[in-house]
């Protein structure tokens, strides 16, 4: 993947700095949410697959880490403020975490992109949604992989069971991100890693940045597994709707097969995530209970904001 297109002063500085490590001059402030989001996305990506036109040593460049920390602090503050606005945090010791996760998911009333795809979306809507989704699905499960060494015994074993399935149970053909890449090709879209980052709306970048933030910080391990649980718990039924919508539009084939795989897989994963990962982590580290719920809320809230943005833009085009 090549460096993304800048979206403002900060990302312009960052892209120049990554392409030419010796460049001097302090980072300017971000001049928009878009600029801030693509900058943090780019800095996080240095810890995933990186960029062919960036210096690999930039991942641990102290100055860039300082910029990343400031952007992460602003993002985390924003996410925690949204969580705090919804509800007073529950008393951690009293929380039955799997049940509380179920309640959070049941109370989620965000708009459903899968519903729209199943019933009303046209081909262009679906292709645009797939381009947006590709930002995550081409690195599916990678943020959660960073969490493995940070967990106690039971949660670690359960997360590995889930990740093993995400990564194809040892068969590269069944790796979920690979299935999505095959699906993109089949519907005539580009399948290479990071192909559509330049098209990603800020809500989508923020959703991805939140997942990476949680995955990359040991301190946020509870939020990371809570985020994972909410993701898995809201995947099975929507994936089935995606299959129905893709079939309706004649986009059956590998992309429908990708979503079809998630109907079954995530019906299993949601229980592994809620009970065996989050439940046991909260047992072993009770101070993580509230963090798990914060992470789960953030997953649902970010998806709702993304869905609202996409549906609103499509409504405006009508």
């Amino acid at each position: 993947m090549r460096l993304p297109k800048p979206r403002g002063g900060l990302s312009e500085w960052l892209v120049a700095r990554l392409a030419e490590p010796g460049l001097s001059g302090a980072a300017p402030d971000a001049d928009s949410w878009d600029d801030e989001s693509i900058s943090l996305w780019t800095l996080h990506e240095l810890s995933f697959r990186g960029f062919e036109d960036a210096d690999d040593r930039a991942e641990w460049d102290p100055e860039l880490l300082g910029v990343r920390r400031d952007l992460e602090t602003a993002l985390e503050d924003r996410l925690r403020a949204r969580w705090a606005a919804l509800t007073p945090p529950p008393a951690p010791a009293a929380v039955d975490v799997p049940a509380a996760l179920e309640d959070l998911v049941a109370a989620d009333d965000g708009p459903s992109l899968a519903d729209f795809v199943r019933r009303r979306a046209d081909r262009d809507h679906v292709l645009e949604l797939l381009r947006q989704r590709s930002v995550y699905h081409l690195k599916e499960s990678d943020p959660s992989a960073f969490v493995v060494p940070r967990l106690p015994v039971r949660a670690k074993a359960a997360l590995m069971a889930l990740q093993f399935d995400e990564y194809g149970d040892g068969d590269p053909n069944r790796l979920h991100s690979h299935l999505f890449a095959r699906g993109l090709e089949a519907v005539g879209l580009r399948a290479e890693y990071g192909a559509y980052v330049d098209d990603a709306v800020a809500e989508n970048l923020e959703m991805n940045n939140a997942g990476s933030l949680f995955g990359l910080h040991r301190r946020l391990r509870g939020a990371a597994v809570g985020h994972l649980a909410a993701f898995e718990m809201t995947s099975s039924l929507p994936s089935r709707k995606m299959v129905q919508g893709l079939d309706r539009l004649g986009l059956d084939g590998p992309m429908a097969a990708y979503y079809d795989e998630h109907v079954e897989a995530d019906a299993i994963h949601e229980h592994l995530a809620a009970r065996d990962i989050c439940g046991t982590l909260a047992d072993d580290e009770p101070d993580q209970a509230a963090e798990i719920l914060f992470g789960a809320f953030t997953c649902l809230d970010a998806e709702a904001r993304f869905a609202t943005a996409m549906l609103g833009a499509w409504e405006d085009q009508r």
């Binding site: 015994v153 069971a161 099975s236 089935r240 109907v263 897989a265 995530d266 019906a267 299993i268």
Partner: protein
């Protein structure tokens, strides 16, 4: 270092788990026979078997139980 006592493991790790109002999780199976007698190969370490009988892809759970009133 003492020998590990595999008859008395430190953690519960059952092969079958019944999820309240949800599926039956089955670990380590190689095949599953459905109600019609068809045998399905299992290619995952854990599978979720439908218990509400409303799944669109029996014998596997597809999450439909969540939209059934309890």
């Amino acid at each position: 270092m003492t020998d590990r006592d595999f008859d008395h493991p430190d953690f519960d790790h059952p092969d079958v788990v019944l999820v309240p109002y949800g599926p039956m999780l089955l670990r380590g199976a190689e095949s599953v026979q459905d109600l019609e007698g068809t045998v399905h190969a299992v290619d995952r370490p854990v599978v979720a078997l439908c218990r509400c009988e409303k799944s669109s892809r029996l014998p596997w759970c597809d999450g439909t139980h969540k939209v059934i009133p309890r």
